[in-house]
């Protein structure tokens, strides 16, 4: 237990960050120039951190696997970004945003971190506006807000359905400015394959140049990981194809603890899987649930007829439809939080009421809304989403109900970090989705963008100074030092070994297999038997993978199959840890639903007495199970209660 010290500052929750900022150590500008920082990832967290650190005068190196920093997957976030501005005068405050986030996360997040997040949220909006982010405006020229799931106030700022894109381009432009000024050096098309420790501190990384295949070493005084989430462990997810766990997994293997790996968010409104060739899932904005009604047929005979296409959805009379969310949650209806909506859809489909070719879909019906508000209004509100849906599915949602199904969307788990966002490895920081800190067991809509930018713009620039203040006498590191040689050789050896496999099957084949195991046993609903089963299946898969994977092409050239092979190897190991974590947590909370722990009505049943902790896992070697450490969560400000949406 002593290994985990969150180093939360003294004082009341509202004063902690102020106290911290007043007391933390600073680095003089002359010394900043002598300090190098590596940032991995250029999404909202990485780009904002790199830009801010560059502005401060540190020498920054940034890495991304994409061809340009502007393509990081933050770009795909649609809905918006929360802030406690209270512009609409509807009773919002920093405290309320803090409260909603803790409650939304089902009381599995750290109070001090979440309060700080709510506190800096307003500064984010100010900065983004100054950068030229074209947020939606009222006719008077002031900023517009909209409401989002899990909150009773309108606190979400947005730029059409492309808020993530616009915020990322804002951070990208700030980053570009620092690159032009020479404070930041950009390394694109690089996979970060290992973290290098010198005397127990993070001092660098090993990368593979994806174009030339060269294994490169980079040294710095501190390493910042902002490499995003690992939802692709499920193969099918709303993540980008390249999103991966490798940078944080390499850090985990070097001693950084991994917290709550099994906490996964399944988003309820995605376009259903069309078949085996499917490579990725597309999210439809949650805002659709504001007007759409979710239903499945109430009679199995109708399900059959729909599948045989003898009837159309509109042929089913009202009485024979089961609006199951409205039935089960009359108070919130179709607007229950993401985890609840997803589970309810799964329950209906598992019971055999699912629609679509695969039976793995439910209807999202706009017929009522069109009747009530008119075609034009609906078109204005959701026109672009309807178009997107029609493009993918070739069905017109104005005429026939949309079909949706839940899909993996976000991972709340990640590297364990303290209040300084530093992992258990000194000098190794983790920001954004790749850390575990702010969302507990379930993330609220429009909070991911807030966290990424808060970490990068407003938190890390202070906390990293606190660490680096003691490093000003440390000279620049030589990337040819023994530790770097050793790490680079290990990476090369691993690549050679993988390439040397004489298998016949593609990386994707194994990735799909892993995805099926994870989705089936460690997805929306988990139970002890299934998880035990999954452990042995993953072990078998790991064995098969080492023997049976086929990687064409060479090591020293552009080789996308080799890139995937490294990522999938890490996903397989991560999958095992996720299963162990899910098995260990004998309660249901947020996105983690253990079938053994539910109320009589099928709702998640938390166990605060035994499980109000963060599960942090420590790597013990390839053949030994990871060790579990617990960080007890203390709730001084907020009283724990059962989430109820009935």
């Amino acid at each position: 237990m002593t290994r985990l010290n969150a180093r939360i500052p003294e004082g009341s929750v509202a004063n902690k960050w102020t106290n911290y900022k007043s007391a933390c150590k600073l680095v003089n500008p002359n010394n900043k120039r002598k300090l190098d920082i590596i940032v991995v990832g250029t999404g909202l967290a990485g780009a904002s951190a790199a830009a801010s650190l560059g502005e401060l005068g540190y020498k920054v190196k940034v890495f991304c696997y994409q061809d340009t920093p502007r393509r990081a997957h933050s770009i795909a976030a649609q809905g918006g970004i929360n802030a406690a501005k209270n512009y609409p005068n509807d009773g919002d405050s920093v405290y309320r945003l803090f409260y909603d986030t803790i409650k939304g996360g089902d009381y599995r997040a750290r109070e001090a971190n979440v309060y700080r997040l709510a506190e800096v949220s307003n500064q984010i909006i100010d900065l983004c506006v100054a950068q030229g982010v074209p947020f939606a405006r009222e006719y008077g020229g002031l900023l517009a807000n909209r409401s989002f799931g899990g909150a009773q106030v309108s606190r979400t700022f947005y730029a059409r359905g492309q808020t993530g894109q616009q915020l990322l381009l804002g951070a990208y432009s700030a980053l570009s400015r620092q690159i032009a000024l020479g404070n930041v050096t950009m390394f694109n098309r690089r996979d970060v394959l290992d973290t290098v420790l010198v005397d127990g501190k993070a001092r660098g990384i090993i990368t593979r140049n994806l174009v030339t295949g060269e294994i490169e070493r980079h040294a710095a005084h501190a390493v910042v990981l902002a490499s995003g989430g690992y939802g692709n462990v499920f193969f099918l997810s709303t993540n980008a194809m390249g999103s991966n766990v490798t940078p944080i997994w390499s850090a985990y293997k070097k001693g950084a603890m991994f917290a709550n790996p099994s906490f996964t968010q399944i988003h309820p409104t995605c376009i259903p899987v069309h078949g085996d060739a499917q490579s990725k899932l597309t999210l439809m904005s949650e805002s659709l649930r504001n007007d759409g009604r979710i239903w499945v047929p109430a009679k199995k005979s109708d399900v059959e007829k729909l599948r045989n296409q003898t009837i159309k959805p509109s042929d089913i009379p009202e009485a024979d439809r089961d609006y199951y969310l409205e039935r089960r949650y009359p108070a919130f209806g179709n607007l229950v939080p993401r985890d609840v909506a997803s589970r309810a859809a799964k329950e209906r489909c598992d019971a055999g009421f699912g629609v679509g070719r695969t039976g793995m879909a439910v209807f999202l019906d706009f017929a009522d809304a069109i009747k009530r508000k008119g075609h034009d209004t609906i078109d204005k509100l959701y026109g672009n989403l309807f178009q997107m849906y029609e493009q993918i599915v070739a069905d017109n949602p104005y005429e026939t109900p949309m079909m949706i199904y839940p899909a993996v969307h976000y991972t709340m788990g990640g590297l364990w970090v303290d209040y300084d966002l530093m992992t258990t490895v000194p000098g190794l920081f983790a920001l954004g989705e790749c850390n575990f800190s702010d969302h507990g067991a379930n993330r609220l809509g429009a909070s991911a963008l807030m966290q990424g930018l808060a970490d990068g713009y407003f938190i890390l620039p202070y906390t990293i100074g606190n660490y680096l203040a003691a490093e000003i006498h440390t000279p620049r590191f030589n990337p040819d030092a023994t530790e770097f040689n050793f790490a680079a050789q290990a990476v090369t050896a691993r690549l050679k070994q993988m390439k040397g496999s004489s298998g016949k099957e593609s990386v994707d084949t194994f990735h799909r297999r892993l995805g099926k195991i994870m989705w089936e046993y460690c997805g929306m609903a988990r139970n002890n038997d299934g998880l035990t089963n999954a452990l042995s299946m993953i072990a078998e898969l790991r064995h098969d993978y080492a023997k049976g994977v086929c990687i064409p092409g060479g090591l020293d050239e552009y080789n996308p199959e080799l890139e995937k092979a490294c990522r999938v190897a890490d996903f397989i190991e991560l999958g095992e840890l996720m299963v162990r974590d899910a098995q260990q947590r004998k309660e249901s909370c947020g996105g983690h639903f253990r079938e053994e722990f539910q109320t009589n009505e099928g709702e998640a049943l938390r166990n605060d007495d035994d499980f109000a902790f963060v599960a942090a896992w420590e790597y013990q070697g390839a053949e030994t199970a990871a060790a579990l450490y617990r960080e007890a969560l203390q709730f001084d400000e907020i009283k724990l209660s059962q989430r109820c949406y009935k």
């Binding site: 994409q66 393509r71 030229g132 947020f135 032009a180 593609s506 552009y558």
Partner: protein, 257 residues
């Protein structure tokens, strides 16, 4: 569905490339274009061949990574979609599909269908930003922006930086890309302060990188997956003219402390 594919294969930047013919079969019409190429690669890997390299990432039309020139059109036959959002039902069974990389001096080929578009980053680095620091900015609502201006700025800011405009242009010009960024920032009060310098620096950088000039064919607008209008190019021209005609001679100020 079955297709004959003619794909540009090129080992690396210096190697000579050529079109190579492949056949794929039993493709679902619901498959996306990339899922069809995945199937081809699967086939190539298991038969000991060399899979085709292409750029792709989000596969939902927003990251701008995908960049295929399909049957003579960037992003293929549909208007307003990226390659990743193109589905095989947009083709006829038995079609022959030609797939090439973007071609421009400023976009050298890395391998097969992958090109290096870092030139677009360089243009942004030349001035595509508002010079503000983190912290020390006014409250967001102290800068009112008229609704219409914010909307027009958003129209321009929707650019995903895919480079289809360059690929479509008979002159491989980046005018729509640069025009969109210049417009986005010039339309907002926050960006006006630096507008004159910005357009000059970005245009100079664009010229240096070897992009072509504009002959107003508007192919860029026709192929832009985000429907960005050439009005933005006109706005850039206007900004550029004004910047050059109305700006004062630069004064050199020596600051010594």
């Amino acid at each position: 569905m079955n297709f004959t594919l003619k794909i540009w294969r090129q080992k690396n930047a210096v190697a000579k490339g050529e079109m190579v013919t492949y056949a794929v079969s039993e493709i679902s019409p619901d498959s996306s274009f990339f899922e069809m190429l995945d199937a081809l690669n699967q086939q190539l890997i298991t038969s000991g061949g060399d899979p085709v390299a292409f750029d792709h990432d989000c596969r939902e039309g927003i990251c701008g990574t995908c960049s295929l020139y399909i049957n003579g059109r960037p992003h293929g036959p549909l208007k307003g979609v990226t390659t990743c959002q193109l589905h095989m039902r947009s083709f006829k069974d038995g079609d022959t599909i030609h797939i090439e990389p973007w071609r421009a001096k400023a976009f050298p080929i890395i391998r097969d269908l992958i090109v290096d578009r870092s030139a677009l980053d360089k243009i942004i680095q030349a001035g595509g930003y508002v010079s503000v620091h983190t912290g020390g900015v006014p409250d967001a609502n102290t800068i009112p922006v008229p609704h219409e201006k914010a909307e027009s700025a958003m129209d321009a800011a929707a650019c995903i930086g895919c480079g289809a405009c360059v690929a479509a242009c008979s002159n491989a010009a980046a005018m729509l890309f640069v025009g969109a960024k210049v417009s986005h920032l010039a339309l907002l009060p926050q960006g006006k302060v630096e507008a004159a310098k910005r357009v000059q620096k970005m245009v100079a950088c664009m010229d240096e990188l070897g992009f072509g000039n504009c002959s107003n064919t508007y192919a860029c607008e026709a192929e832009c997956p985000k429907g960005i209008s050439v009005v933005n190019i006109a706005r850039m021209n206007r900004q550029f003219l004004a910047a050059n005609l109305l700006s004062e001679r630069e004064k050199v100020v020596n600051i010594s402390l």
